[in-house]
């Protein structure tokens, strides 16, 4: 017996507006939420722009104790999870708590708090033998990356497998993938799955500056994130969270739940090539796509939309275009492929989950979100990137793909009407 996995709830905290409604408004309008950094003074940095969340924890349902205790990225996750949980309609108090899992991803976890307190204990980088007396009492919670999944599990009473996933920029896709496996293989019936990151801090901006991965278009932040465009020059840092409630399909049906779609397949591979570099062939990402399609026994010609990693670095967009052509063949040219990072930036570990939620919404609305800022074709990127304007389209089978530092290449397949065949 194969257990199938449904998406029955979604929630998001993203730049440009908090919550599913504001998020879809942004994506379907093609507006961009990138701007000059306001979260700290970015003077001296090469890239001084980002997609920030206008986030007030109190306005979004957290109380003073929660806001005090939880770092920004955990606050995002709690708010996104609350929206997803409310959306799915499950009464968590009535569920068997041992059958409720949590799988949340984050690339850099508590580094923003770690840096904040580091400055205090080191007298602004003056001493190696740091002074512990200047540290804040919650610092150990930032040190432990599992605080993310732990806090969300505690909040919603989950007592099954609780995991924090940290595979760099594929963390969000992989957290959804691990949640999918957890239910499919019978270790839980429900999984709160997603990812969160709030990496807009001096150390994280500086380390991407150091390898020139981020865009230096500080004078025109609204147009700085230009995936697939010939004049792209790096990604724009983002922040945010997205959470999905994954549920065993019969469990969802038994309670008459609204099913957005199913997770049709998931795969991840390493490129074993370089921690940050990508080949121009895209072999390993293609292998992930092929494997995810194989799990659903779906012919590549059935793919209706590819939600790209599309970070806007020169090598990524070329790599990914090659991978999708390798997997979909001639059908790649008939398949719209867009990058929402053009609008909400690249929130490292969180973005994979935000993109899966974007795919769920695209299927729900039967509309493909666009690639904003796309103007000038690049001969090496010759697919249909849905320039600037959202496009109505019949969407039954949607792929979301991602690449991460460390060589991770992941693909998640969502299936809508009709589900998957096996």
């Amino acid at each position: 017996m194969t257990r199938r996995v449904a998406v029955t709830g979604i929630g998001v905290v993203a730049p440009g507006g908090i919550g599913i409604s504001a998020f879809w408004d942004l994506l379907s309008s093609g507006r961009t939420a990138t701007r000059g950094i306001t979260l700290f003074d970015p003077e001296g940095l090469r890239s001084r722009i980002a997609a920030e969340c206008d986030f007030d924890p109190f306005a979004h349902g957290l109380d003073a104790a929660q806001a005090e205790r939880a770092d920004r990225y955990i606050q995002f996750a709690l708010v996104a999870a609350a929206e997803a949980v409310a959306d799915c309609g499950i009464d968590f108090g009535a569920e068997n708590p041992w059958r409720v899992a949590v799988s949340l991803g984050s690339a850099v976890g508590g580094t923003t708090r770690l840096e904040h307190d580091y400055v205090l204990v080191s007298e602004r980088g003056q001493r190696w033998d740091v002074d512990h007396r200047a540290a804040e009492p919650q610092l150990h919670r930032a040190f432990s990356p599992s605080t993310l999944a732990s806090d969300v599990a505690e909040r919603f009473g989950a007592q099954g497998p609780v995991q924090t996933v940290s595979t760099g920029c594929t963390s969000g896709l992989d957290a959804v993938g691990y949640g999918f496996h957890t239910i499919e293989e019978g270790h839980a019936d429900i999984c709160i799955a997603g990812a969160s990151d709030s990496p807009i801090s001096p150390i994280t901006m500086a380390c991407f500056d150091a390898i020139r991965a981020t865009s230096p278009d500080n004078d025109d932040p609204e147009h700085a994130s230009r995936p697939f465009d010939a004049h792209r020059n790096g990604f724009v840092m983002g922040e945010g969270a997205a959470v999905l409630v994954l549920e065993e399909l019969e469990h969802a049906r038994a309670r008459g739940a609204h099913v957005y779609c199913e997770i049709g397949g998931y795969a991840t591979f390493g490129n074993a090539y370089h921690m940050t570099g990508l080949t121009s062939e895209g072999l390993e990402m293609a292998k992930a796509i092929d494997t995810a399609l194989g799990q659903a026994r779906l012919d590549p010609t059935r793919i209706d939309y590819v939600n790209a990693h599309g970070s806007g670095t020169r090598q990524n967009d070329r790599h990914e275009t090659a991978a999708v052509k390798r997997s979909l063949g001639a059908h790649a040219y008939d398949t719209p492929m867009s990058s929402i990072k053009s609008m909400v930036g690249h929130s490292l570990g969180a973005i994979g989950a935000i993109e899966v939620v974007a795919c769920v919404l695209a299927m729900a609305h039967q509309v493909v979100p666009p690639t904003a800022n796309y103007e000038t074709p690049d001969p090496e990127c010759d697919l249909d990137y849905v320039p600037r304007t959202a496009r109505p389209r019949k969407l039954d089978h949607v792929l979301s793909v991602g690449s991460g530092f460390g060589g991770f290449q992941s693909a998640v397949l969502l299936t809508g009407r009709g589900g998957r065949k096996r």
């Binding site: 770690l114 512990h132 009492p137 099954g160 497998p161 500086a206």
Partner: protein, 411 residues
């Protein structure tokens, strides 16, 4: 219960970097003899901190084991992981594992503290000198995925690669993750965890854990299951295993050293040790169920041994809850009292010890623990000879995870 758990997963290789031995042979000898190596912390910049005792890995020379190109771009925690992975692959006879089919070998590590020493150095450059002084490797050395990525690149492994960034129990989750990846069709997964949490700022970060032992005297710092229990002592190091499809292993003439038979994980809240009784018992039952194993079949338990009175009590009671009368009779051991807890690395070191214990027919002792005040048969003082077919390894994390893993001896 698991839909796809039809393939049996074997452990065919073990690699260890631990405070009591930087290779597997030395580690096992130390564990079997109950060697106690907890000591005052000697690492630079730590002497003034109110965390005095730890299990340091000493005498580890990464440059003898790892190429310079990898060393410069990685933190000490990845040095341990790469060294242990190399040793495990060699042990399994798979040093050239990726040559024929790179997609058939995956990597999964657990990480609970990241590249703290490297990160502190770069933070010092940023805040002390300016952003232009941050080096190009900060983006790949500090983050939790560093070890998996570097092991994959170094070995040419293109199979499924994963990272569970977890509290201690994540070490067992990584082994289970590997076994399930093999169950889904990947031939070999390099799996484990190693940590290096003893840089000054990393130590400051740990001071907030209420369970941390701040004892000054190494001999009194970490004494679980006794009335003198006063918290746990952190440590460096860890272990990496080669997890492989058992039939494939036999087909290539490799020794199946143990079978990963069952695993389950639960969550009962950070530092809520009373609740961990129920969570641990539930995890034990789940792991036994997946293994098709009766409680009486368990021949030895490698305990979590947190060293906090409520946590120790909860663990002893969980054994009774899940194993019934057998819970009071089965030999229990905690070799980690001799070396400390290297976060995610600790339970993987216990898995390594459990495999070796089954092979050698010796239950290693719990160093420096006497006068047990709970109703368990804790093996103390010296190793106990025993026929060991099945071992149960337990772990709990400071953020609330509980995990249990059942291992069967290889045949």
């Amino acid at each position: 219960m698991s839909a796809r758990a039809t393939r049996r997963t074997a452990i065919t290789g073990i690699g260890v970097v631990a405070p009591n031995g930087t290779d597997t042979e030395t580690y096992w000898k130390s564990v079997r003899e109950g060697l106690f190596v907890l000591d005052r912390i000697t690492r630079e910049g730590c002497g003034h901190l109110p965390l005095r005792v730890a299990g340091e890995v000493r005498g580890f020379d990464p440059s003898a084991l790892i190429e310079e190109t990898f060393l410069v771009q990685t933190d000490r925690f990845s040095h341990f992981a790469m060294a242990a992975a190399g040793a495990a692959l060699k042990d399994a006879g798979l040093s050239d594992a990726a040559a024929d089919s790179p997609y058939s070998v995956g990597v999964v590590t657990a990480a609970g503290s990241g590249g703290g020493e490297f990160g502190q150095r770069e933070l010092q450059r940023l805040w002390g000198q300016g952003s232009r002084f941050v080096g190009p490797y900060q983006s790949i050395a500090w983050f939790y995925a560093a070890s998996t990525g570097q092991i994959s690149i170094r070995g040419g492994f293109k199979g499924p690669c994963g990272v569970v960034a977890s509290d201690e129990a994540g070490g067992l989750d990584a082994v289970a993750h590997a076994a399930r990846t093999v169950g889904r069709g990947t031939d070999v997964v390099v799996a484990g965890a190693a940590e290096a949490p003893l840089a000054p700022y990393s130590m400051v970060c740990q001071l907030g854990y209420p369970e941390l032992s701040t004892a000054e005297d190494p001999a009194r710092a970490y004494r679980p299951f006794t009335s003198a229990a006063c918290g746990f002592v952190p440590a460096e190091g860890g272990a990496v295993l080669v997890v492989e499809d058992a039939d494939r292993a036999r087909g290539r003439g490799a020794e199946v050293r143990a079978v990963v038979a069952g695993h389950a994980a639960t969550f009962t809240g950070a530092s809520q040790w009373d609740r961990s009784r129920e969570g641990l018992a539930h995890a034990i039952r789940g792991a036994l169920d997946e293994a098709g194993c009766a409680p009486e079949e368990i021949d030895v338990v490698f305990a979590d041994a947190m060293g906090v009175p409520e946590a120790d009590r909860a663990e002893a009671l969980a054994l009774a809850d899940a194993l019934g009368p057998h819970g009071g009779r089965v030999p229990v051991t905690a070799p980690k009292t001799g070396i400390g807890r290297s976060y995610c690395g600790a339970p993987v070191l216990d898995v390594a010890a459990a495999v070796l214990a089954m092979e050698q027919g010796q239950i290693p002792p719990t160093p420096n623990v006497f006068d047990v005040c709970h109703d368990i048969d804790l093996v103390t003082s010296q190793a106990r000879p025993a026929e060991l077919r099945t071992a149960l390894v337990l772990s709990r994390g400071l953020m609330g995870s509980n995990a249990a893993l059942v291992l069967r001896r290889g045949h």
